[in-house]
Symmetry: C2
Subunit: 126 residues, 2 copies
């Protein structure tokens, strides 16, 4: 009988790795959070600017997602008491701490996309 490497991931060890990764994924996954964060990474925005900039997002979703992101301290909402009142959204310093995560996801996603395409075309990448 073939021997399989007997190392097993201890349950506690596994969970210790899995839980924070799930936390991070919960915050980033879904259709809109990343587009919003990426849009704000280009500069502060008003609600209407983001609504125009992010394809297909509804006002209702944008408003909900902004509240979630604010609760998670990633986005800041500032009311300028000018006339007319201007409400401005910005990425917090803490939101910028996601840069490395987003960049890793992006470069891996790009490489993966290329690999799958070359595989579909019958090429054999080395």
């Amino acid at each position: 009988m073939v021997k399989i490497d007997p190392k097993e991931c201890k349950h506690s060890e596994c969970l210790e790795m899995i839980l924070p990764v799930r936390d991070a994924l919960d915050i980033l996954s879904g259709k809109w959070k990343l587009p919003i964060l990426i849009s704000l990474s280009f500069g502060n925005k008003r609600f209407s600017q983001m609504a125009n900039e992010i394809p297909n997002i509804t006002d209702r979703m944008l408003s909900k997602e902004l509240r979630d992101l604010e609760m998670n301290l990633l986005v800041k909402r500032t009311v300028h008491h000018s006339v007319p009142v201007v409400v401005e959204y910005s990425m917090t310093e803490y939101g910028r701490s996601l840069d490395k995560v987003i960049n890793e996801l992006r470069s891996w996603g790009q490489a993966h996309r290329q690999l799958i395409h070359s595989k579909e075309n019958g090429e054999h990448p080395n």
Copy 2:
């Protein structure tokens, strides 16, 4: 009227960032893919080993997710024609290319969890 930084994320520029990130998230998100990958990162496994090791996963889900991961070239299924036949799953080299992504997600998730907890307890982290 308050002037807001007029830089806008051009639609094409935004999409260029968003699409690969979404690809990566599609592959990693959900309840089971990461537990499976993390379990295999500790060593090669048989189906029954993973089924025992990953809390609450059903055989049906494990089988489905393993097929998906195999299709995405992240996991390899090897049949050893011994008696009895042994089917072994392993992480591919390509699967290991996810290490950096997983580590970034993990360290960010850990920091985030701490920040949210200290916020809930009324502390003000510097």
